[in-house]
Amino acid sequence: MDNTPIRHSTKQFILEHFPASRRRSLDDTDPLLESGVIDSTGVLDLVTFIETEFKVTVDDEELTPDNFQNIAAIAAYVENKQNGRA
């Protein structure tokens, strides 16, 4: 399944709420966490967004850098959740 819509709205959310992401072009595979674009308090807002926007529940064990390292990873994670695979 094509997860472009998930990527798109996640990217919009990040660009709107984390202005540091606009300092240069933000690609789907650009690092979000180690670059400091999203910090440890900001990431909680991102999790809340994902839960409400995509109607998924992020389990505690899924709060890992692997799932949130970039837009592509987030979209893949969300898609898996929606398909009941994660």
Binding site: P19, A20, L33, E34, T41, V43, D60, E61, L63
Partner: protein, 515 residues
């Protein structure tokens, strides 16, 4: 210090980061090789070298190599943007910089503003960006076989400059000598009872006095320092368990994140965690209660320090039940006075400024003798004949004591904001608001926040009655300064309240917020 640990326990694990593990002898060898490389590249005694790296083995090695080369290290927080890094480089007339290739690419545009910078050392793989000064490889330096570099520095020499903000202006560089840094680690390791069996988890940046102090205490006592960066509090809990960490230092924001259920702290046994320390602001009482429940065998030390005096007070864990809101008493070999506005000692319960005397008082601000003279002054109560030029540190923090001399934080004497452990100058944030071109006047204050300690609130008057667009202003700030300096909320006013002398009336703004 490093050489002593390397001789005493050469095979002891010194630094851990991810899958990298270095023994003291390996650290000693790399540090010596790096120091040799830095010297051969032209770094001389007393010259400033910036270390602009994310937490990593290379970052820790760089600090010690800079000292070994008799230069002054300037740890630069890895979250800063190029404009802020350029300010630091210009301010201390930086001679050399150790950074990564991608960070150097980000900095390429501002390097021309730093004429003193004569070479760069880069860490890691990839293409080296084209810059007009020589660029050396960190890995080549560290792997070279080098003769033993002779220690030239003595205790009185400058070891480090830590950049921090005050109530006005741009960040200032606090100067610390080797003696002061060493006194800080001796004192802290004494009351935390740190031994060579310690495994300390480092989360606070080395650009922050308490973070640097963790590295120094670990190395002074031949313990192990585990380094990490984190996004989720769970990662910290997992690391505490995996590396059998015995000591952790954090700021209130970190503890708030750890106290949330999804951190997993409450259902992860951490039998090795001997102590935790809080600094950089008061820990919320609800958070403290949660931590005490989740970590029943861990000793909790509430500490207080300011960069200008490195480390100042701590509350012994056995006092937590009786006075959980106290910041404790003076650290060993240190005197803490509370002085009222008439310059007299305060009685218990009376609010006054905390004044610190002891071996960790810094040399003041780099290149700012007037500002230094306001903060570092002669002892108010000792006869001049007995002072021998000694300076005590006027902290700007308002405190009071109870009958038994335990200290309680009351507030700031000035308008400085403290958010997630960072000191933030309101004027620096106001300047960014002005840069947007959307505001006529702006004033910034800190308002209490459960997680951040304080969060930044801006009051603005829009320019020429222009539209009120708080999101646009916040977004502008977010592109100009790091996250911790961006206002969390913006309120539009028709006029800012002014004092009779024509300055912004901050107390009135604070009262609007019920403060």
């Amino acid at each position: 210090m490093l050489a002593t640990s390397a001789q005493r326990l050469p095979d002891k694990e010194a630094l851990v980061h991810g899958s990298q593990r270095l023994s003291y002898s390996e650290v000693d060898r790399s540090v010596n090789a790096l120091a040799h490389g830095l010297q051969s590249a032209g770094l001389q005694r007393g010259e400033r070298i910036g270390i602009f790296l994310e937490p990593s083995i290379a970052q820790a090695l760089s600090l010690f190599a800079a000292s070994k080369a008799a230069s002054v290290f300037v740890p630069v927080n890895h979250l800063l943007f190029p404009e802020q890094v350029a300010h630091i480089m210009r301010d201390c007339r930086m001679k050399a910089l150790i950074t990564t290739k991608s960070r150097l690419a980000d900095l390429a545009g501002v390097l021309s503003e730093v004429p003193s910078l004569s070479f760069v050392v880069v860490v890691g793989e990839g293409d080296t960006p084209a810059v007009p000064i020589p660029v050396y490889s960190f890995e080549t330096f560290a792997a070279a076989s080098a003769d033993c570099v002779r220690d030239q520095s003595i205790g009185k020499d400058l070891a480090a400059i830590l950049y921090t903000s005050g109530s006005t202006g741009k960040p200032k560089g606090v100067m610390l000598t080797h003696s002061q840094v060493m006194a800080g680690s001796s004192i802290v390791s004494t009351y935390l009872e740190i031994t060579d069996s310690e495994r300390i988890l480092s989360i606070l940046p080395f650009s922050f006095d308490a973070g640097l102090n963790q590295l120094m205490t670990a190395f002074q006592r031949s313990g192990t320092l585990v380094m990490m960066t984190f996004t989720f509090a769970r990662q910290i809990v997992e690391m505490l368990a995996k590396e059998e960490v015995t000591g952790l230092a954090g700021v209130p924001t970190l503890w708030s994140l750890l106290a949330q259920p999804q951190s997993g702290l409450h259902n992860t046994p951490l039998p090795h965690l001997r102590y935790i320390t809080n600094t950089g602001g008061a820990m919320p009482q609800t958070v403290l209660a949660t931590l005490r429940k989740a970590l029943p065998t861990t000793r909790i030390f509430l500490m207080y320090g300011l960069t200008e005096a490195f480390r100042s007070t701590y509350l012994p864990p056995e006092e937590l039940d009786r006075r959980p809101t106290s910041m404790g008493r003076a650290i060993p070999d240190t005197e803490i006075l509370v002085v009222n506005e008439h310059g007299q000692p305060c009685k218990p319960g009376e609010v006054g400024e905390l004044v610190h005397r002891g071996p960790t008082v810094s040399l003041g601000y780099w290149g700012q003798p007037d500002l230094t003279a306001r903060v570092l002054r002669p002892h108010p109560f000792i006869a001049p004949e007995l002072q021998d030029g000694e300076k005590v540190c006027y902290s700007g923090d308002l405190v009071k004591t109870d009958e038994e001399g335990f200290l309680y934080f009351v507030g700031r004497r000035d308008t400085m904001i403290k958010s997630s452990g960072y000191r933030i100058s309101p004027t620096e944030v106001e300047e960014v608001l002005y840069q947007s071109g959307y505001v006529r006047t702006a004033a910034v204050i800190g308002v209490p926040d459960e997680v951040l300690g304080q969060r930044i609130k801006a009051f603005v008057v829009s320019r020429n009655g222009g539209p009120q667009e708080p999101e646009r202003l916040i977004a502008f700030c977010g592109e100009k300064v790091p996250h911790h300096m961006v206002p969390k909320s913006i309120e539009y006013l028709d006029e800012l309240p002014m004092t009779s002398s024509g300055k912004v009336d901050y107390p009135t703004l604070r009262r609007r917020e019920g403060l």
